[in-house]
């Protein structure tokens, strides 16, 4: 029955994503109803963009940076000033400079790391006009970049990758916004509050007072899932009964988390004019996802004998149980969605291992909206290159040669992972002000550090919540690392795309290495696993692996 539940979920996911990809292909190809096109054109003209002008990769990257920088400044100022601004019924003050920096970076980079607690530290205006907006446009940025990168690989020979303003606007207006409206209404029906009234004071059955925070949550939660953002309206995120009140709300959100990332695989196949290419990438992602999910499921259902018989229910909600918590944990760490419906810090060590690996390999198993696909294309370039080395031929992907320049850029982009996770983590494990954040003695403490820095570098945003990430050291260091994890991938990937699109497309011959069959899928999976394992296994051995060994020996810390 468990198997059937998972299969049904995956079938629904793939079916919906396939349908969405049909629409997305029309949106990005400009095959929209003329009224929509006219509205879009008017908006862009008014904004001073020149939609007809294609951008070479450098201009595209500059536009991304200019837009994201503007967003950062606006959000930072809003968070600092929220205390003096309207829509603040619970009279919450402004954020401290380091926390405002961390939060602004976090939402602009689609990380949604939460060093703050929503209901206690943010006004409704910050939630709506600050975070919700970034949930839309940071997702839109990732989608636009992915579409540009895809064009670099598949479009006819040329120099330009498309126009960022057009791609961004289309992502938000015609994909994210309509889906969000539908999901938000569904969630509101299920019991997620959508009100501008402040907290309510209840007098409980036994006469005790209970202050219940609420707010315009449904609207934000819808886009936080669809845009693989994950920053909760409330501190405990999707475990909160107001964020995720029912099993139906949980399943709708679980589907939404992976919907657009999976659709991007199909979109890739469509844009390449060879749908098998999209299926191959989806297959590679799915193999790794199912393997990881199986581990988390088994560990959580088996539970923790040190706490008693039954599933591992510490940090989990009764309505979700071990299974839906495992599905959520695997999906969100795979998809760079920082939301949690159970507390990852309290998961079993090997579940933590899987979550760490999913993030450390760079969020390419489905990954963030857009970001997962362009991240995976980085590995594709490396896999094809390795295959070329093995057979002694110049590697090709989709008819275009992968040469020194592309591989150098791909390796540069890949290096941001170990730089952020290993260097950032090592510093955090040695500097006393940083080390103070660790909650747990023993190997679990190592996992907490690793998780924080993997989450920031991979732009995931979830946390081992016991880790005191609100310390100024971490708000600053993690903020910088989130920037690294985002732009040190985006810029090289756009550069690769810019270089690919200039190359001639060679026709397929009998000597071409096919990139759509099981052989290629296996090669791609092995490339991801080997690169990830070689880079991170030593440190994983000190964290979750050591903890599991100690646990089996009956040790506690």
């Amino acid at each position: 029955m468990t198997l059937m539940s998972y299969l049904l979920y995956l079938a629904a996911l793939v079916g919906l994503a396939w349908l969405l990809a049909v629409w997305m292909a029309r949106v990005y190809g400009g095959a929209l109803p003329s009224a929509l096109l006219r509205a879009e054109a008017a908006l862009l003209r008014l904004s001073g963009a020149v939609p007809a002008r294609g951008m070479a990769w450098g201009a595209y990257a500059l536009a991304v940076l200019a837009f994201n920088a503007t967003c950062f400044v606006v959000l930072y100022l809003l968070l600092r000033a929220q205390g003096a601004l309207p829509l603040n019924p619970d009279a919450i003050g402004g954020l401290a400079p380091d926390l405002a920096f961390n939060t602004a970076v976090s939402f602009v980079t689609n990380t949604n790391w939460q060093a703050y607690s929503g209901e206690a530290q943010l006004s409704y205006l910050s939630q709506m006009a600050g975070l919700t907006v970034q949930n839309f446009v940071s997702a839109g940025t990732g989608m636009a970049v992915a579409v540009a990168v895809i064009r670099g690989f598949v479009a006819a020979r040329g120099t330009t990758l498309g126009n960022f303003w057009v791609d961004l606007t289309r992502s938000v207006l015609w994909i994210l916004l309509p889906l969000s409206v539908v999901l938000a209404l569904f969630l509101a029906w299920q019991g997620v509050p959508q009100t501008l009234q402040g907290a309510v004071v209840a007098t409980g059955v036994e006469g005790q007072e209970q202050v219940i925070a609420r707010g315009p949550a449904a609207a934000q939660i819808a886009i936080k899932q669809l845009g693989t953002n994950g920053g909760g309206f409330f501190g405990v995120n999707s475990a909160h009964p107001y964020e995720n009140p029912t099993i139906a709300s949980n399943m709708a959100q679980s589907l939404s988390i992976l919907l657009i990332p999976v659709a991007f695989c199909f979109l890739f196949g469509r844009m390449a004019g060879d749908r098998r290419q999209g299926w191959a990438i989806l297959a590679a992602m799915a193999v790794m996802f199912v393997a990881g999910l199986a581990v988390v499921h088994v560990c959580e259902v088996a539970g923790n004998p040190a706490l008693g018989a039954g599933a591992n229910m510490e940090g989990k909600e009764q309505r979700f149980g071990a299974m839906l918590s495992a599905l959520w944990a695997a999906s969100t760490t795979a998809a760079s969605n920082g939301s949690v419906n159970a507390m990852h810090d309290s998961f079993m060590p090997l579940s933590g291992f899987v979550m760490l690996v999913f993030m450390q390999i760079g969020e390419v198993i489905f990954g963030g909206v857009g970001a997962g696909l362009y991240g995976m294309l980085l590995y594709v370039a490396l896999a094809v290159f390795l295959a070329g080395l093995m057979v002694g031929r110049t590697p090709e992907y989709l008819g275009r040669k992968i040469e020194g320049r592309e591989v150098t850029l791909a390796v540069l982009a890949f290096l941001s992972m170990p730089l952020g996770i290993l260097v950032g983590g090592a510093v955090a494990a040695t500097v006393p002000q940083a080390l103070a954040a660790v909650q747990e003695p023993g190997p679990h403490g190592m996992s907490e550090i690793l998780y924080a820095y993997a989450s920031a570098t991979g732009n995931n945003g979830s946390a081992f919540g016991g880790y005191g990430a609100a310390l100024p050291w971490h708000t600053t260091a993690l903020g910088i690392i989130m920037l690294l994890g985002r732009y040190a991938i985006i810029i090289p990937m756009l550069a690769i795309a810019g270089s690919m699109i200039r190359k001639p497309q060679a026709p397929v011959t009998s000597g071409t290495f096919p990139t759509h069959g099981p052989l290629f899928v296996t090669l791609l999976v092995l490339t991801v696993v080997i690169l990830g394992a070689l880079t991170f296994f030593p440190v994983l051995a000190l964290g979750p692996v050591a903890e599991e060994t100690a646990r089996l020996a009956g040790q506690s810390f």
Partner: protein, 197 residues
């Protein structure tokens, strides 16, 4: 960079107005019109007093009521939190052992796992049916009714899996306690239980 600055600023302003104000405000209007109770937090009133939310756990200590799962944040619905303790945490293992002893002393039955572990939100409104059933004897004794009828009421309150596949069977503690007060009013000393008439 400068040529990009104007569209960057203009679109930031536009998207802030659209997705930051229009989108949440229109949805607020729609949700308030379509699902007024849910949109305001599914609040439950009795005799003009807001007792709490049907979705949010509150503390119950008295023997006459079902007890919710432990909360690491004291059922604080304005500042939620979990223990976040890891699986090899000695502190967690000790806390759970203490909870188990207390629970088993109060209910005279082996404690199910959900009764001794804290939820992620600290506001988990549900407990497992086994957990609820094991508390029936204690509740019946205080209310002066037979345990069978309390069990019957609990059994009727059990919510099942979605499509028979997803989630876990569960009992909403707060709502079931209100139903208990209605079905088996407490003797006048208990004070709150007269709503059933």
């Amino acid at each position: 960079m400068l040529t990009h600055l104007r569209p960057a600023i203009a679109l930031t302003v536009f998207f802030t107005l659209l997705t930051g104000l229009a989108y949440p405000l229109v949805l607020t209007g729609a949700a308030q019109a379509l699902f007024p109770s849910a949109a305001n937090g599914s609040l439950i009133e009795r005799e003009g007093t807001i007792l709490g939310s049907g979705l949010v756990a509150q503390s119950f200590a008295g023997d006459a009521w079902l007890h919710p799962r432990p909360s690491a944040s004291g059922w604080n619905a304005a500042g939620t939190g979990a223990s976040n303790l890891g699986p090899t945490s000695a502190a967690l293992i000790a806390t759970v052992a203490k909870r188990r002893a207390a629970w088993e002393a109060a209910n005279g039955a082996p404690a199910p796992i959900d009764a001794v572990t804290a939820s992620g939100s600290g506001l988990d409104p549900h407990i497992s049916p086994e957990n609820a059933m094991a508390q029936a004897g204690r509740i019946a004794a205080v209310r002066g009714v037979d345990a069978g009828s309390v069990r019957e009421l609990i059994a009727a309150a059990v919510e099942g899996r979605l499509f028979g596949l997803y989630g876990e069977p569960r009992v909403n503690v707060f709502l079931t306690n209100i139903a208990l007060d209605e079905a088996f009013p407490m003797p006048p000393a208990g004070g709150e239980g007269q709503a059933a008439e």
